[in-house]
Symmetry: C2
DNA sequence: CTGAAAGCGCTTACAG
DNA sequence: CTGAAAGCGCTTACAG
């Protein structure tokens, strides 16, 4: 059933080179000849064999996306933007989930490399990306990172304005007179560090001193949205509510929020009357709760689009070898006011 | 930097055939020879060029997944299960979002076919899949469908137990004495039809007659979770609450629920006191609302896994040409009781 | 146990 | 404007 370029050439009475020229528009061909080729193509319902083209051109038009936790909708939206951006230039996305485990991440990259990919986008599970030095030593493909800045390996990076976003939220709280504001983050990393800086600056600018008891983190373990409901964040929140005189909580990412808000809800604490609440990361469900939850919205889809753009630029500008040109792009966040403050 | 099989052969003092035999274990090779090859491989940090292997073997180890609406977490979880299942056999997933538009779906399939894929999984935007007949006529690859049964094209299908799941939920309501139960679905299709059958049977078995006014649908337009909040479902709910004496609402999918619950919440109706509420499709956020929302949980991850298994079976059994062997697999749903009933 | 050689189906200098 | 031919880097009958 499947026909090859040879059959087309034979049927059209030309060489396979001419068929290729017509199909790719790489050389001028006499209109009459072109028609004969096109007729033969249609008659045989011929399609170029991409496997052969790939080998010949040394490219696959495939980009790998290794994502730290695909069950987190934040990353799903990044994938959405990335896919859309790549599609514009005829590239396609291969998705691999690391499930918050570094070893899976490494395995995924290896797996991707053993297939054929032209570029790599990574949302790393932890900042340590030194393993890439070895893995990529014989694969000169561009790599872009999203959400966390890598250590031990260089590439383009796309991050949110974590510090500013948090600062904005804290300012909303301090403007309303809050002085005892807790900061809860699911786990410490470079991104969380930036948010913490925003928190501290926000307090400082309002003349409030930082209380170390009010700052809590989860652990580096793998955590799913579901298990988080009654996990470490839940306990931290419970402790803060019971034993400290906090009047506001800033939850520094969507994973933490699941545990924090579960606790708030189950404790019968009134939001915002007893405690005001703001979360980093927006989602549609934040309007389904009572009250609706104010949020610092990231723009994950845009982050994905930009990561895609950065990778694609490496192909067109053939900058892929120029290490000095790596870009760090910040995507701005936006405070979304709702009844929880 | 990149070395080829030739260089390995040269360095090891053997033929390229022998290198291939060692690397693939396809033929017995003298241990001593094997060691020389392996040493050369390590020394050169050689990796097989997948592009060449693909051409030679006529496969890409790539499966395309064309998903009707990737912003819907239901499909994201299917992708998760599918990816995991395929990874087990060394296959990788290419993801394409149709954004609820048939034309995008067709474009995605074309795009995928013009690249190299060994199989296709489709969550179709509408049941009409006759376009595949033409597109796949020269691409003899297996196709599996999830979530909706295709019309005009055959393949393996994975569906939830839509009728039974709905029946279970309605029974919970009728057992509690509800007689005026509304059914709201975001749009009519084969899957929704099955749920509607479950609804009607549930009422019938409880000796309650169906009231056509209580059954409402959205339109076939593209709908995002966000825009749905105050869309057609919201209006239907508002109408039902204001003008009919309903005591319970069954929302037949997660998209509808966003609009329905938004309206319930904003209307100040007390759940479950004034109106009991159950939704099809579970999600973590259903416990964040007040009250938590009871749900008929599908198992999208399992649906993805099974779809992957069905595709992989077609490769190993070389059944891909046997049209008569198509399977329809039902993944069971589970009622999850929460305070909304 | 090992190798020479064909061939997967293209694209692209090169020649005319 | 068109074609003969090299070659991308593998795998695999086939021969010995």
């Amino acid at each position: 059933m499947k026909s090859s370029i040879k059959e087309v050439a034979y049927l059209a009475g030309v060489s396979i080179a001419t068929v290729s020229y017509v199909l790719n528009g790489t050389k001028k061909v006499r209109p009459e000849t072109e028609k004969r080729v096109l007729d033969a193509v249609k008659k045989l319902n011929y399609h170029v064999n991409p496997l052969a083209r790939n080998l010949r051109k040394g490219e696959s038009k495939l980009i790998g996306f290794v994502v730290s936790d695909f069950s987190n909708y934040f990353y799903q939206e990044i994938a959405l933007g990335l896919e859309a951006q790549l599609a514009k230039e005829g590239y396609r996305l291969i998705l691999m989930d690391s499930k918050e485990q570094k070893e899976n991440e490494i395995e995924n990259v290896k797996n991707l490399l053993s297939g054929a990919i032209d570029g790599l986008v990574i949302a790393p599970t932890t900042e340590d990306c030194s393993y890439l030095r070895f893995l990529l030593s014989n694969h000169p493909i561009p790599v872009a990172f999203v959400d966390r800045r890598p250590e031990g390996f260089e590439g383009d990076v796309v991050l949110a304005t974590n510090e500013q976003g948090t600062y904005d939220a804290i300012k909303v709280l301090t403007d309303k007179g809050h002085k005892d504001i807790a900061f809860l983050g699911s786990r410490m990393d470079s991104t969380m560090e930036e948010r913490l800086v925003g928190y501290k600056k926000g307090l400082q600018d309002a003349g409030i001193s930082v209380n170390a008891n009010y700052i809590r983190f989860g652990n580096h373990e793998s955590v799913s949205q579901r298990s988080l409901r009654h996990g470490l964040m839940y306990n931290h929140t419970s402790d803060l509510i019971s034993n400290y005189k906090i009047t506001a909580i800033f939850s520094a990412n969507n994973l933490a929020t699941v545990g924090v808000f579960s606790c708030i809800k189950e404790s019968g604490v009134k939001v915002p009357h007893d405690i005001a609440f703001i979360t980093f990361d927006d989602s549609f469900w934040l309007t389904m709760t009572s009250p609706a939850i104010a949020a610092v919205a990231q723009n994950p889809e845009e982050m994905g689009r930009v990561a895609g753009r950065l990778i694609l630029e490496r192909f067109s500008n053939s900058l892929s070898t120029r290490k000095d040109s790596y870009q760090e792009v910040r995507i701005s966040t936006q405070f979304i006011e709702r009844n929880s403050v």
